[in-house]
Symmetry: C2
Subunit: 333 residues, 2 copies
DNA sequence: CTGTTAGCGCTTTCAC
DNA sequence: GTGAAAGCGCTAACAG
């Protein structure tokens, strides 16, 4: 319930003693006679007039609004992504409607329909389901990371393959002889799966025997990691690997805790590199673990540029942005 | 640019061979004859019709949208707040437009105007400036924590005073003899200032000499804390206090780092209690420090209920929700 | 109960 | 150049 008695264009026209259309032109920057413009602008100021976005939206069929769908805003990666999407949208004169789907398909579909219904100018989605079949036509969609069954949804992601390779190389540089890999992939395919490919590629390039834990379920995360480590423990208690690349900072953090609890020192006995570049409190420079960092601000800006692009026809179907390594205490300097 | 050729109510009416008004009634749940309802519903499904929110908004002067203004979505407290606001809004059939102001007054004002212009049904604000004078009339505003110069803005906050008292009592329970206090308040007044009042109150209740650092600027945070600690160091190197209540988890975390760097053990030499209840990665149960936790989900729900309340006249001007203590490794068990 | 109709506030022809 | 007038898709008031 808003702006009950807010002045309308009509009021401005009456106040300025000009025609309705003239007011509209002034507001939309269409040239009118100088004297008219001045009168209209004075009236606008006097009445404190603001255009009614709904009337305009009804006419224009657009809302200056973009919908962002993420699983939640509590996970710092998603939160940070949302933050930079908002900034980029603001720069472009748009608003962000933030939808937290809980990674539930039904909710994602519901949000998608709402976005269409609300004349959202586009949707940026980071989901764990295939929403490809549920995207209303003519609703521009940009996907972060995920591949949808949808005919043509442009995708933006970090260069995960390069990140995987980089992790191994850094581990070797830091003195590791045998880096392992741990991942818990979402069952839904995305670019993040390439972290493993990068790891395997780097192993083969360096003539190393890959050792990894790779499952589709993160149920019993701690048990799975613990079992993996135990399984690669030699008779003398030492490990078959001296470094681990873990697919996310969060999982890397968990892995560190488990290793420490088992009596290993980090980075002395085992070095760890995570992925994402999550910082403590979001605002410090402190990483939880040494990490391959995703360029979140650039990723966000790219998504926004694409979803707002005039000619969707020219959009690349996949855009990969470079990652970077940062020391975070779990590798040797 | 959305739903270019989307079917309108008119199309549905034609398809169902009923009058326009009848379709409207079916959609809005106003009773119509069974046979009509069935026909209309069939037509809606067939045409895949969806109401045009802009046309409806133009008529109804409402948008089912609530604007949340926070400084940023990177800070985990704000992010989590935003998350739970979104959930509560979703439950109530509303959308959240998230605005990150960077704590910049001009941006806050701009967002406020936009919210009004976009027919937002209300605004929930967590700001560091007095936006009281800039709230368009008839735009329902609920403030988290801050006191605005605005005539009557309902405020929701944690019971910070009780939190301050609780922090001291917990410290004493855990064996502290002399708890100190560190705070960096925003220059803009809010309920969070009461943390200090709670500390002072508890000190006087327990006959303790208060020792505190309390400034309005968080510039040179680290220097200020370091100086404070040095200043209270006795000739033998020990400290004049054996516990510190710090006004936020973030500041508490910084304080811990400084103390450790100076050679103090936590919690053996000094126990620390923060405020907020921020967890690592947002999704673990691990706190950064022992903390007085704010009930973020309840705070969010309360804000939403208030901003959506039909009769704003009955709204309490201040609602204080209880906080709780949680162990986070920086106190003795 | 149903159907007709008058706007909501704005943009945009199209005469002038 | 300006200004009158026709809708955009919907709701609600009112007449049947």
């Amino acid at each position: 319930m808003k702006r009950q008695n807010a002045p309308t264009m009509k009021d401005v026209a009456r106040e300025a003693k000009v025609a309705l259309g003239t007011v509209s032109k002034v507001i939309n920057g269409i040239p009118v006679g100088e004297e008219y413009r001045v009168k209209v602008e004075a009236a606008i100021r006097k009445l404190n007039y603001e255009v009614n976005t709904y009337a305009r939206g009804l006419k224009m069929q657009k809302s200056n609004t973009v919908t962002l769908i993420i699983p939640d805003a509590v996970n710092p990666f998603y939160a940070s992504f949302a933050h930079y999407i908002e900034s980029a949208l603001y720069e472009a004169g748009h608003f962000m409607v933030l939808c937290c789907s809980g990674a539930i398909l039904e909710k994602e579909i519901e949000y998608l329909n709402m976005a269409s219904q609300n004349q959202s100018d586009g949707v940026i989605a980071l989901t764990y389901n295939d929403i490809g079949g549920h995207v209303p036509e003519s609703l521009p969609l940009v996907s972060f990371d995920r591949i949808y069954s949808n005919a043509f949804t442009p995708r933006v992601a970090s260069d995960n393959f390069a990140g995987g390779v980089m992790a191994v190389e850094k581990l070797l540089e830091c003195g590791c002889a045998h880096p392992a890999f741990i991942t818990f992939n979402s069952p839904y395919p995305g670019e993040a799966d390439k972290r493993k490919d990068g790891y395997l590629h780097a192993c083969s390039a360096h003539n190393l025997e890959p050792v990894y834990l790779s499952t589709l379920s993160d149920a019993n995360l701690v048990c799975q990691i613990t079992d993996f480590i135990r399984h690669h423990r030699r008779a003398d208690g030492s490990l078959a690997f001296d470094g681990i690349f873990v697919n996310t900072d969060y999982n890397a953090y968990i892995t560190c805790n488990i290793l420490r609890e088992m009596g290993f020192r980090i980075p002395d006995d085992v070095q760890i590199i995570g992925f994402d570049g999550i910082t403590k409190f979001g605002i410090t420079k402190d990483l939880y673990v040494s990490s391959i960092c995703q360029p979140i601000p650039e990723l966000a800006r790219t998504c926004v540029n694409m979803v707002l692009a005039k000619d969707k026809g020219l959009l690349p179907s996949l855009t990969l942005l470079p990652v970077s390594y940062r020391y975070g205490g779990t590798t040797r300097k």
